[in-house]
């Protein structure tokens, strides 16, 4: 069974229908990149996947858990889904180390000691081994985002969701974050990445999904989507992005 199954997903805020019947399946180890104009509902879609938003209609099944089923323990589902936000959302009152170990320790996944060992290993992976005791505010944006990735990974998730992880960063910081994500993809992590980094999408994605107006307009292999766009909307979107 696919890792993520989304069927006929609708989401409205009052009269404003943001998602208008989305269908998507993501396989194990697959990396899906989502592109599309701002306001098209990409963030809303990602947030529906871990229940930060409750869909108005439709079905979401993740690793076998049906989110619309009242009996599903949402906290358990969330442990399996790591999420990385555009603005990092690190906990400013906790050190880098404490940010990473908070959830595993609180949820009794690991003892404090093993969590510390895991955290050090993760910090090494994201290239911040020397920042364990730093406070988030003393780090650059790129460093903070890498800590945020390490924090999500500490729960040993089976799926990672990224919502424009580099768009709040200074250009010179973007590379380091993307490198970490590439490493993750190479290690076989299942990932859904909302991004404007077309280079990254081309290189890493197994599939690129183009969203516009609350619907998936087109999807396929990166080279098909980028080099042979079918719909005029996608052509229009790519023109704009590439001309920037």
């Amino acid at each position: 069974m696919a890792k993520v199954i989304v069927k006929d997903l609708h989401k409205s805020y009052g009269d404003n229908e943001v998602l208008k019947g989305l269908n998507l399946e993501v396989e194990d180890n697959e990396v899906v990149c989502m592109i599309g104009p701002s306001g098209s509902g990409k963030s809303t879609f990602l947030r529906c996947l871990n229940d930060l938003e409750v869909p108005t209609q439709g079905q979401i099944v993740i690793s076998g858990y049906d989110l619309s089923d009242k009996g599903t323990n949402i906290n358990l589902v969330r442990e399996n889904i790591g999420m990385v936000f555009q603005h990092f959302n690190l906990f400013p009152h906790l050190s880098v180390m404490q940010n990473i170990t908070l959830a595993p320790v609180q949820l009794n996944k690991e003892s404090k000691e093993t969590a510390d060992v895991t955290a050090h290993a993760l910090l090494k992976t994201v290239g911040l081994a020397d920042k364990a005791d730093a406070m988030p505010n003393s780090l650059s944006g790129g460093q903070q985002q890498r800590v945020a990735i390490a924090r999500a990974l500490a729960m040993k998730p089976k799926i990672m969701l990224f919502d424009e992880p580099t768009s709040a960063l200074d250009p010179e910081m973007v590379g380091d974050v993307l490198d970490v994500m590439k490493k993750l993809a190479a290690d076989g992590m299942t990932m859904i990445v909302v991004t404007h980094e077309m280079g990254f999408a081309k290189e890493v994605a197994d599939r690129v999904v183009f969203m516009s107006d609350g619907l998936i307009q087109e999807s396929g292999k990166p080279e098909d989507v980028f080099d042979h766009p079918k719909s005029p909307r996608l052509q229009d979107f790519l023109d704009k992005v590439i001309n920037v």
């Binding site: 442990e79 690190l90 959830a103």
Partner: protein, 478 residues
Amino acid sequence: MKKWQVAVVMVLATLGSWFAFASTAQAKTYTIATDTTFAPFEFQAKGGKYKGIDIDILNAIAKKENINYKLKAISFGAAVQQLSANQVDGVIAGMNITPERKQTFDFSDAYYTSGVVMAVAKGSSVKNFKDLKGKTVALKTGTAGATYAKSIQSKYGFKIKYFNDSNNMYNDVKVGNSAACFEDYPVMSYGIKNGIALKIVSKQYEAGDYGFAVKKGKNAELLAKFDAGLKAIKADGQYKKIVDKYLHSSESSLTGETASSRTFIGLFTQNLDTIGSGLWMTLVLTVVSIVLATILGMILGVLGVMPGKLGPAISSTIIYIFRGMPLMVLAFFIYIGFPDLIGHGFKIPAFVAGMITLMLNEGAYTGAFVKGGFQAVDDGQMEAARSLGLPYWTAMRKVIMPQGIRIMIPSFINQFIITLKDTSILSVIGIVELTQTGTLIIARNFEGFKIWLMIAIIYLIIITLLTWLSNWVQRRMN
């Protein structure tokens, strides 16, 4: 149970047992209320003990008739209210027997007869009632003097200003804010003899009888004993001795203060015990109330930001009610109104009532800024915590609260200082805290300026210390 849960349970249990004790107070001991400031009938002598004609008569009668009683000094108005609300068993406070009062109370035989006089400032040109036209007259609420002045108000065309306390009334006349005051003759002449710069300019009007009062239809046995005892002490000469002692001697011989102790330092050292116990009460009340208000405020704040509609609705309703109600009204409601509602002789000790009052009022203010503090934490924090799989309450405790509380620290410090100052309002329900201590000391030595200065300085010192302490805590946390 977690540590904080244990703490909450303990506080509730303590409160509960207090109520239980209060409602099962021993049947044999009567609680008799008196005024705080009505020399020579009642006043506090050095060291905090009450003295005066009323007090000594009551004591002499009680000895003769074997009455067990506990004296409770509160303002006259509160004493009368509490008697009608069944909070006390009797009142002896230079209380005039009037037809109106007889509707609600049963009175003993008259134990003293006195009339109302008008007094003006020493240098005043006001000589009679006609001179009062267009001027302001100071009155003490609920007294015979007030009733008499009210009855002649329209005839002589003066304005009226009310006080709860004789000394404040005298002072208003002394400094010239009011042109005159009306007071019972023995009280006025005693005060003047002891240094109040007023003079009596009228004869005695509306001579009236003072009586000991119980609630109508209640405590008939106590009343009968009082009457019998009064006869006995009149017969054996004790009564005359008591009255003479207070009407024909000077203040200092009664209070134990010497003239040389009227300097600022002298007054301070003389009254150190009284001030100290008032200060202690203020501090205890402040600390206990701050702890309770903080607990309540945190609960209200957490409810206020809870998902769903119920929590926020409960929180904002409670905040709305208790923030909107003046502290004094709330204090009276809890101390007098609430037991009245429950009935069955239910009583709340003044300290507990004061504590609950402050808890509710300061707790509502605290709740409002705690809620605001939590709301000021970026929404992304809760989302990030939840996305890691942390349950709502864990996310609240580990992520939102620590950040919110940091934002709130200046508000907490501010609230602590306000709580400390607000304890002074609780003097209205008879709690003898620092402010009430000041009133009591002035009631016997009339040194208004020096004593209030002393009290003000003490408040400033504690507030300064509290601010330092808070700043230190704040630095530690950052």
